[in-house]
C-alpha cells in the first residue's frame, strides 16, 4: 500500500499515483510518484505557469537586464516581487517590472507594434541598460505575434543592445518546469559562446541553480573569493547577461538546483566538455562536502579545509544551540521540488528535525528518486498536492512547522501551525554555514512563538488550553 489514496481524493482516484508513503515493508524502488504530468481536473493545484518558471525563477534574477513581458499587465505583476533576490547594484531586479500591457485592441489587431514601441521606450528610459529578455505569454502566443522578428528589427536599429527571446507562454507546459527548460536550452543555443571575459584565476566555475534568495549568492561568493576561485557566471543569482554568454569559459559547472538548471549543465558537458558537479549548499555537512569536492577537483584541498574549519568554529556552536531546542520537531516541506531532497537530511542531521511530509509542485520523477532515497520512513511524498490533501496530511502527520509559499502559508496559519516561507525565506540567506544558522533560528522562532498557540484560543472557552511549558518559557 505505499501509493496512498487519501480520503479527500476518493472522487479523483488518479491522485493515488502521486502520493507515496515510505514504509519499511515495501521495496521503495518498486514505486515512484508520477510527476511532471498535467494536473488532474478537479484538483486545486498550487502550480505556477510555464512563463513564470522562465521569468520569475531564472531570467528575472539578472541584475542588468530588462525583463520585457509581452502580455497583459497581470503576467508581469504575478511574476514580480514574490521572490526576494537582491542584487549588489541597488536591487535592480526587485525595483523594476516591465510589461507591454496588452489590451483588447492589441489582441484583436496584433501586438507586434506595441512590443516594438515598448522595447524602444524601455531602452530610452533606461539608457544605461543594454540587455533585455523578451517573454511571450498566453495571449501573445495565441494571436501569433512574431516576437523574434520584432527583436531582430530592434537589434538592427540599436546595435549596442542585445536581446534574448523566451517563447514559453503559460500554457506550454504542465508547470513552471517547462519554463526552466525553455530558457536553459534557448540560452545555450543562442547565447553561450557569444562573449568572452577576462580570466583571472586558473580555477574557474559556473555556479548554476542559485538565485540569490535573500543573499545566498553573496554569502557563497565569500567562499569562492577566499578559495581563489573565479566564478565565470552565476546562473543566475546576482548575475549579469554577459557573464552568462561566457559560460563556455569555465572549467567546472557546480550545480545546486538540478531541476531548474540541470539542463544547461548537461548541455555544457555535452557541447563544451565541462564536467558537471552536483552539490547541496544548505546544511553544514553538505556545504562542507560541496566545498571539499570543488577543491578536490582543482587540487586545492588545503584551502578548503581551512575555510571549513574557520566557518565551523564560527557558526557550529550557534547551530548546536538551536539543535538542542529543535530536536524531534516535525517539519513539512511543500515547495517546488529540489528543496525536498536538499533539506530532508540536512535538517535531520544538523538540527535533529524529522521531515514528515513533502510535496513538490514541479519536481520530476528524478527529484522523487532523490528525495525517496534520502527521506525518512513513515513520511509522505506527494506530487502536485492540492489544498484538501494538505489538510488531510496535516491531520495524519501533525507537523510543528511547515515550509511552503505564502499562499499555502496563509492556509496553514489559519490552522495555527507556524509557516516559514520555503521559497523566499523568512530571514535568510539560508545557504552555507551562516545561512543554516539563520534557517535554524527561523524554525526556532516559529516553533517557540506563543502567538500561533494564543491565536488558537477562544477566549470565551470556559476551559482554556494550558500553554505548553516550552512556550511559557519564551512568552
Amino acid at each position: 500500500m505505499p501509493m496512498v489514496l487519501l480520503e479527500c481524493d476518493k472522487d479523483i482516484p488518479e491522485r493515488q499515483r502521486h502520493i507515496f508513503l515510505k514504509t519499511p515493508e515495501d521495496d521503495v524502488r518498486e514505486c515512484l510518484p508520477i510527476a511532471n504530468v498535467p494536473t488532474i481536473p478537479g484538483s486545486l493545484s498550487e502550480r505556477g505557469c510555464a512563463f513564470c518558471g522562465a521569468k520569475l525563477v531564472i531570467g528575472g534574477v539578472l541584475k542588468d537586464t530588462i525583463q520585457m513581458i509581452h502580455g497583459p499587465v497581470g503576467c508581469a505583476y504575478d511574476t514580480w516581487h514574490t521572490k526576494r533576490y537582491p542584487s549588489d547594484n541597488g536591487h535592480f531586479p526587485l525595483k523594476y517590472v516591465w510589461s507591454t500591457d496588452m489590451k483588447e485592441q492589441h489582441i484583436v489587431f496584433g501586438g507586434e507594434k506595441r512590443l516594438e514601441q515598448s522595447i524602444h521606450e524601455a531602452f530610452d528610459e533606461m539608457p544605461d541598460v543594454k540587455r533585455m529578455i523578451v517573454y511571450t505569454t498566453c495571449p501573445t502566443a495565441l494571436i501569433g505575434d512574431d516576437v523574434k522578428a520584432v527583436v531582430k528589427k530592434v537589434m538592427k536599429e540599436r546595435p549596442d543592445v542585445d536581446i534574448f527571446t523566451v517563447e514559453c507562454p503559460g500554457f506550454s507546459g504542465v508547470s513552471q518546469s517547462k519554463g526552466h527548460h525553455v530558457l536553459n536550452i534557448g540560452w545555450i543555443n543562442e547565447k553561450v559562446g557569444t562573449a568572452e571575459k577576462e580570466i583571472t584565476s586558473e580555477y574557474t566555475i559556473n555556479f548554476i541553480g542559485d538565485y540569490n534568495i535573500q543573499g545566498d549568492t553573496f554569502l557563497l561568493q565569500k567562499y569562492w573569493d577566499r578559495l581563489g576561485i573565479q566564478v565565470i557566471s552565476h546562473f543566475t543569482g546576482n548575475g549579469t547577461y554577459d557573464d552568462l554568454r561566457c559560460m563556455h569559459q569555465a572549467k567546472l559547472n557546480v550545480v545546486n538546483c538540478a531541476r531548474s538548471a540541470g539542463y544547461i549543465a548537461n548541455e555544457l558537458k555535452k557541447r563544451h566538455g565541462i564536467p558537471r558537479l552536483d552539490i547541496d549548499t544548505w546544511g553544514f555537512n553538505y556545504m562542507a562536502e560541496g566545498i571539499r569536492k570543488v577543491c578536490a577537483f582543482f587540487g586545492i584541498e588545503e584551502r578548503g579545509e581551512e575555510l571549513i574549519a574557520d566557518e565551523y568554529a564560527k557558526w557550529k556552536p550557534q547551530l548546536d544551540w538551536y539543535k538542542e531546542r529543535l530536536l524531534g520537531k516535525k517539519m513539512a516541506i511543500w515547495t517546488g521540488g529540489p528543496r525536498l531532497w536538499h533539506w530532508t537530511k540536512s535538517v535531520e542531521d544538523d538540527m535533529g528535525i524529522e521531515v514528515v511530509a513533502m510535496s513538490s509542485k514541479f519536481g520530476h520523477e528524478e527529484d522523487f528518486e532523490k528525495v525517496v532515497a534520502r527521506g525518512r520512513e513513515g513520511t509522505y511524498y506527494i506530487d502536485d498536492a492540492n489544498e484538501l490533501e494538505f489538510f488531510e496530511i496535516i491531520d495524519l502527520v501533525k507537523p510543528d512547522v511547515i515550509f511552503t509559499g505564502p499562499r499555502v502559508g496563509e492556509l496553514v496559519k489559519k490552522l495555527h501551525i507556524p509557516y516559514i516561507n520555503g521559497h523566499a525565506y523568512h530571514n535568510g540567506p539560508y545557504m552555507g554555514f551562516e545561512g543554516f544558522v539563520n534557517m535554524a533560528r527561523d524554525i526556532y522562532n516559529a516553533t517557540h512563538n506563543p502567538l500561533a498557540y494564543l491565536a488558537g484560543q477562544d477566549i470565551r472557552d470556559p476551559t482554556p488550553l494550558v500553554m505548553p511549558e516550552r512556550l511559557r518559557e519564551v512568552a
Binding site: R29, Y263, N266, G273, E289, R292, E366
Partner: protein, 116 residues
C-alpha cells in the same frame, strides 16, 4: 557472493543511496558514466593507488570518489582490512546494484529521452 560480502555491500550501498547525487543524473548514460567513473576512482583510492587525473572528467570523478572514500572509511572501519580482490568485488557489486536500481529498474520515465 558470500554472506559477509553481501552484508558489506548492503552497508556501502545504503550510504551511497542516501548521500550521492551523481547516481541520480538526468539520463541513463549520465548515470552509467558517473557510476563507472566514481567507483573506478574509488577502487583505486581504496587500494592505495593514485587516482587517474588526466582529463577534466577524471578530476570530477576523483572529487566525488575522494569524499566518498573518506566517508566510507570513517563509517565502515572493516574497509581498512579489505584486500585488493575484496575491494574489486565490492566495487563491482556496487556498480551492479546501482545500475540495477537507478537505471534498469528505475521508474523514472525520462531516463532514456534522447535530449536533455
Amino acid at each position: 557472493m558470500n554472506n559477509v560480502l553481501d552484508d558489506q555491500l548492503d552497508e556501502l550501498y545504503g550510504y551511497i543511496e542516501e548521500r550521492c547525487l551523481w547516481q541520480f543524473f538526468s539520463r541513463s548514460w549520465d548515470r552509467q558514466e558517473n557510476i563507472d567513473g566514481v567507483l573506478d576512482q574509488a577502487a583505486r583510492l581504496l587500494n592505495g593507488k593514485g587516482p587517474a587525473r588526466e582529463t577534466p572528467m577524471d578530476n570530477l570523478f576523483y572529487a566525488d570518489a575522494k569524499i566518498l572514500v573518506a566517508d566510507l572509511r570513517e563509517r565502515f572501519p572493516w574497509l581498512e582490512d579489505a584486500g585488493e580482490e575484496e575491494i574489486r568485488q565490492l566495487c563491482d557489486g556496487l556498480k551492479g546494484r546501482l545500475v540495477d536500481v537507478v537505471i534498469t529498474r528505475s521508474k523514472n520515465r525520462e531516463l532514456n529521452h534522447h535530449l536533455y
